[in-house]
């Protein structure tokens, strides 16, 4: 094997090697993303994804981990406090009983909405359903 053949051989294999190096970087990125999202949702029963939040708190796009009993409202003592002028101090409750989530309106001024319909009594809901409290909109998601 002369020098030129060796050179071509090295170049060829280093191109292939660099392709795999790129793939390895990408896979490392994907793996880190997966681990981060797994850590966020650790031990939660579900998540509330914030779809819209004009007040900025909670931030739009945030994923709030849920416990068995969660309260939403403007008061700071809620498990999920909302910075929203249209929300009551203790506005709604989201509970996990048995195998189902229930949404309950706590006699709020402006009402609680499930998929655009007002909630009159504790109503069962599933993953993917949309909850509106004041101007803040959430989606119930399974724990990631």
């Amino acid at each position: 094997m002369d020098a030129f053949e060796l050179l071509v051989w090295v170049l060829r294999l280093s191109f292939l090697g660099l392709l795999y190096l790129f793939l390895a970087y990408v896979v490392r990125t994907l793996w880190r993303d997966l681990r981060t999202s797994a850590a966020v949702a650790d031990r939660a029963l579900g998540r509330l994804m914030v779809i819209a939040s004009p007040g900025g708190r909670p931030a739009t796009g945030a994923a709030l981990p849920l416990q068995a009993v969660n309260s939403l409202g403007r008061d700071i003592n809620n498990t999920i406090p909302l910075d929203d002028a249209f929300a009551s101090a203790f506005h709604a409750r989201l509970t996990f009983r048995g195998r189902t989530w229930y949404l309950e309106d706590l006699a709020s001024t402006n009402g609680t909405f499930l998929n655009g319909q007002p909630v009159a009594m504790p109503t069962p809901l599933g993953y993917g359903d949309e909850i509106q409290v004041g101007q803040v909109r959430f989606r119930l998601d399974r724990p990631a």
């Binding site: 071509v8 060829r12 191109f15 292939l16 392709l19 793939l23 993303d33």
Partner: protein
């Protein structure tokens, strides 16, 4: 007097906050180094000594990638950081390969310039990157897609009819449409329109489709009126095969449709029904259409007609064999045979074969790995989407690219009967590159954490309203009888 627009401009300027995208920078650098080494490898093989050839096309392409990255950084978009480098690497590999092939495979007059394969592909790649970047930055809400789904569907059908009526026949398939100096393959655009329509339709009717059922023995089928879209889709796919002779597009359309239907309803019975319909359609077409029969026979035994209709597939299999594990090296594949390339259409449908010959199984697997990464990222964007429409749209756009790559690479390998579609971002061809650019651009826009929130699910759709009215009527009737 001029103060109001100025204030607006200043507000817009304040709103734009540059944001670093370190992962994208790193990945793009890795891709650039790989491509440069690939270019040197190719030039050295071709020149017979250590050479870099004329690196201007590659440098222009890498500069364009850098500009896209810079545009994302300056506008501070929080979009996905993996998609652009992956797409960039695929496009770069395409650029290397198109510069390696005999340049006279394609010749086109652009203005005063006579352009050949390599420069043309560079031009289309740059255009595709531009479309991708503009869509990813400009698209901040989706109402133009969401609210006009039926208008999009009508546009799609019109486009299809236009091809049926005016399409030009190339290699027995009526695919391309020529409007003055511009020629394009509308089915590339059609697949995006189809995804937009299906995402809108399925997001609206999801509760109905998933909830109700019609019992038929052990099968639980959807209620009859909601089966109609499936039948319509089946009809469109068959029409595409019969009139356009485009097996690949039909397979892609129907596959994406079934996948989205399953994503929306999570009911395997729909998929079973769809597959059954597809099998019935395939048998019918096999019996009635000569070109379908030929394709199938080539797949079963290409060597029976190795010098005739099976020539392409046989040559492709030999090329895979020549490649082996590590490949012959870029530029060292089998040179032109009697003036032509050994595998016909090696720059379009058989680009995967060509790359597998020169980069070997190792390189081919790396390319398939890049598509897998695209799939993972796209489906994650879908999983994190704010509502049904966006989730289905993101999944559909991802599937269009990945399914197409799967169909054509499997066809090249003789795993399934060959159907002519392009390998997204790698095959030569303007329509394909632009359509893939649109897909990834929209995906990037959907992945942005800062886009507008989707509209609230306020007024129920027409079907839901109809169903409620029916239920109300039944109740009233029951009360009256009692």
């Amino acid at each position: 007097m001029t103060s109001a627009p100025l204030v607006g401009l200043r507000a817009a300027a304040l709103e734009i906050r540059p944001r670093r995208r370190d992962r994208e920078t790193l990945l793009l650098l890795a891709a650039a180094v790989a491509l440069l080494v690939g270019w040197i490898s190719l030039s050295t093989t071709e020149a017979g000594r250590l050479a870099v050839g004329d690196p201007a096309p590659l440098l222009a392409y890498l500069a364009a990638l850098g500009l896209c990255h810079l545009a994302f950084v300056v506008t501070g978009r929080r979009t996905d950081q993996v998609l652009l480098p992956v797409v960039g690497l695929l496009g770069g590999i395409s650029l290397l390969f198109m510069n390696r092939l005999p340049q006279d495979l394609v010749q086109q007059q652009v203005g005063p310039l006579e352009l050949t394969l390599g420069p043309l592909q560079l031009l289309w790649l740059l255009l595709s990157l531009a479309v991708l970047t503009v869509l990813a930055i400009v698209v901040r809400n989706d109402s133009w897609l969401r609210s006009y789904k039926y208008s999009w569907a009508v546009a799609g059908v019109l486009l299809l009819l236009l091809v049926f009526a005016l399409g030009e026949e190339v290699n027995g398939a009526r695919l391309s449409l020529r409007l003055g100096p511009l020629a394009g393959q509308p089915s590339e655009l059609l697949k995006i329109i189809l995804v937009v329509f299906l995402a809108g339709y399925l997001a609206e009717y999801r509760p109905l489709l998933a909830g109700m059922s019609l019992r038929l023995g052990v099968l639980r089928l959807p209620p009859l009126p909601y089966l109609l879209p499936m039948l319509a889709m089946w009809g469109v796919a068959l029409a595409v095969v019969v009139v356009q002779r485009d097996l690949g597009a039909a397979l892609l359309f129907f596959g994406v449709f079934l996948a989205l239907l399953y994503l929306a309803t999570q009911r395997a019975s729909f998929v079973a029904l769809g597959v059954a319909l597809a099998v019935v359609g395939a048998v019918l077409l096999y019996l009635l259409q000569a070109h379908v029969r030929t394709r199938f026979q080539i797949w079963v035994d290409p060597f029976a007609t190795a010098q005739g209709s099976g020539y392409q597939v046989v040559q492709a299999l030999y090329a895979f064999g020549r490649g082996g594990i590590l490949g012959t090296g870029l530029g060292a594949g089998l040179p032109a045979v009697s003036g032509g390339v050994p595998v016909p259409a090696v720059h379009t449908d058989f680009v995967f074969t060509g790359l597998a010959e020169e980069l070997g199984t190792t390189g081919a697997l790396a390319i398939l790995g890049l598509y897998l990464v695209l799939a993972e990222r796209g489906l994650r964007i879908a999983a994190g989407a704010a509502d049904d429409f966006r989730a289905l749209l993101a999944a559909g756009l991802t599937l269009v690219i990945v399914l197409q790559a799967a169909i054509i690479s499997a066809g090249n390998l003789k795993l399934i009967p060959l159907t002519g579609v392009t390998l997204p971002f790698v095959s030569y061809g303007g329509s394909s590159l632009l359509a893939s650019g649109i897909c990834v651009g929209l995906l990037l826009a959907l992945s942005d954490a800062g886009v507008e929130a989707p509209p609230p699910p306020g007024r129920p759709g027409p079907a839901e309203r109809f169903r409620r009215r029916l239920a109300g009527g039944r109740e009233r009737l029951g009360r009256a009888v009692a």
